[in-house]
């Protein structure tokens, strides 16, 4: 009896020790992650936090935030008023009632998705266009660079800070729209709907990250903040307005004759699609469309043979995600390319005062 007790005690003691050990190890790990030595923050996070506070305090961000929040509320209102007519119990999409909050409109104001697609780039540009050149023109760049930090900390921190701000903003906005939606229509989203919305938020963050990187690239290349802002806005206007027109013109010029075979027609169709997909805004709108409208089955042309036998039902979430995978990779790729270019330019830059 005594022996058994002893063993139990030992076991108990051992377990306690183990717990203690795990606890201290965990604390150690967390502390290591948070700081480098003796309570001092790692310089990288010092820059990140300073950049975030700069963004949040700046008038530019407050104005953009106000603009986006207002349009969000507006689009939410229009979608709520037109919700009644839009819902058709018989249609396949009736099942995804909640997603309509983000996509439908009564025609007076564009939907949430369209607004994000349109204003998101502006937010990205607004946060990034003077990232490096304003530091240069204020004479702070060479001062910061002469501190014992690696050179890439600055550009990485600027990117991380802006991305953090954007992520928080988009999550907050989308959840706000969801919350107000639940309150007014009284139906909570299903798990699948929630997943789709989450994927949409991540996608829009990625999309804005692309524009952010493009504008950071311009801010490294051009000395004047005005030049880089104008170039970034020019790129934005080009892709969101003119690019579609240009593709249409090209499509019309290269249109095969009405008598040409279906093979030729299909090839031409594919060619125009490829041209369209070169634009990041096209990639974004294709991807959001598929994610938020489960009935979208394909983004390219379908032959009659392919459609035969298909059940006209919405796609499951996994399949929709699979469908937008090329668009996602495309967006990630252009974002990474922009960042890599600005990184390389920045690392090679000779930092002179003013």
């Amino acid at each position: 009896m005594y022996k058994v007790l002893k063993r139990q005690e030992l076991l108990e003691k051992g377990r306690k020790e183990l717990e203690e050990l795990i606890k201290s190890a965990r604390q150690l790990k967390i502390r290591e992650l948070l700081s480098s030595k003796g309570g001092a923050d790692h310089p990288f996070w010092v820059i990140v936090s300073k950049e975030i506070s700069d963004h949040v305090r700046s008038w530019r961000f407050i104005i953009l935030l106000g603009l986006i929040a207002l349009t969000c509320l507006g689009s939410l209102y229009t979608s709520l008023t037109s919700m009644g007519e839009a819902v058709d119990a018989d249609s396949a999409e009736g099942a995804f009632f909640f997603l309509k909050l983000f996509t439908i409109t009564d025609g007076t104001l564009p939907s949430y998705v369209v607004f994000v697609g349109f204003l998101g780039p502006l937010l990205g540009i607004g946060l990034g266009f003077d990232a490096v050149n304003s530091e240069q023109s204020r004479g702070t760049l060479s001062r910061v660079m002469s501190q014992p930090i690696h050179r890439d900390y600055l550009i990485n921190a600027k990117f991380v800070a802006a991305l953090t701000v954007i992520s928080v903003l988009f999550f907050a906005l989308a959840f706000m729209v969801m919350g107000l939606g639940i309150l007014s229509i009284g139906i909570p989203p299903t798990l699948e709907e929630f997943m789709r919305i989450l994927a949409f938020i991540l996608l829009s963050i990625l999309y804005v990250a692309f524009w952010l990187n493009l504008s950071i690239l311009f801010s490294v290349r051009f000395r004047q903040a005005a030049t880089s802002a104008l170039s970034a806005i020019a790129a934005w206007v080009f892709f969101s307005v003119f690019y579609g027109m240009i593709v249409n013109v090209i499509a019309r010029v290269t249109q095969p004759g009405a008598m040409s075979g279906p093979g030729k027609q299909l090839a031409h169709q594919k060619f125009t699609m490829i041209l369209q997909d070169l634009s990041p805004s096209q990639l974004f709108s294709d991807a959001t469309l598929t994610l938020l409208m489960p009935s979208v089955r394909s983004l390219g042309p379908l032959t009659r043979a392919q459609v035969v036998g298909a059940i006209p039902s919405p796609l499951p979430f996994g399949q929709s995600l699979l469908l937008v995978w090329p668009q996602l990779t495309g967006l990630v790729a252009v974002t990474v390319i922009c960042f890599a270019l600005s990184y390389v330019y920045f690392m090679r830059k000779e930092i002179r005062s003013r």
Binding site: S36, K37, G38, G39, A40, D41, P43, V46, I47, K50, D54, R57, R138, G139, T140, S142, R143, V144, M145, S146, Q147, P148, I149, H150, E350, I351, R352, S353, R354
Partner: protein, 316 residues
Amino acid sequence: MDEPIIELKELTKKYGSFTAVDRLDLSVSRGEVFGLLGPNGAGKSTSILMMTGLTEPTSGSVHVCGVNSTSKPVEVKRRVGYLPEDVGFYPEFSGLENLVYTARLNGIPTGPARNKAKEMLDRVGLTDQGKKRTGTYSRGMRQRLGLADVLIKTPQVIILDEPTLGLDPEGVRELLELIRRLSKEEGLTVLLSSHQLHQVQQVCDRVGVFVGGKLIAQGDIPQLSRELFAGEAFIVEARVATRTFKKVKEHLEQLDGVNTVTREQELFRISCTRDITAEISKEIISAGAGITWLKRQEYGLDDIYHRYFEGGTENV
């Protein structure tokens, strides 16, 4: 004292076909105040950038505190405070906040960083302005804040690029006084670049004259003038009160060691082979004249400067 803390060997920097710095050899000892002199575009800033690891040399090596600036810039930047030309601060932050930010970038936790920043503000005489946004600072205040910013990481070496540029004379005097005091009190090594000679003359132990990417002379100022004006005549100028200038002139010309004597009104310029100022004064008095003013010409940095930059560009 003789241990070199900054050592450049055969340092060269080329931009395309233009050579900004040409095979520069330089060494600065611990505790010294070294002035890098030269006209604009001589390559002073480029050399400084290479010392702080902000740009890479085309060839040659830089060691600061025994660490290679090109391969280990972060190590060097931990030990070296660099004040760029026309330093800037985040205008929406106060002076104190700017300093705290720098301190935190140097790995000092926020609490101690604040105390240290306050201490630095006191030291550079900005105690009352610390809470103001730096956007409202004047040029002189910015430079002083810059000095505090450099000192907050307790460096071994401070490198100042044109620290006096754009300051009013009083501001220059105060700043140089501050630099001088700091270097003496803390045993700091200071390297400063400038194209304004008088100022450098006041504070530097040693200067290097930098033209067209080359260091053409270095040493303390008497040594430099001796080197440059070796074999040249001593000039003594004397203002004399007398009616008989001719007699005085004759007397002077007889003196041993006098080459020529020229006269402009009552001012005599006596060129001699060695320093015979005392004999000259005696001679003038023995000729029955009075001396109102007597000066032995000394070569200052101004003359050195002229010799190199204006008159002597062809022999560079």
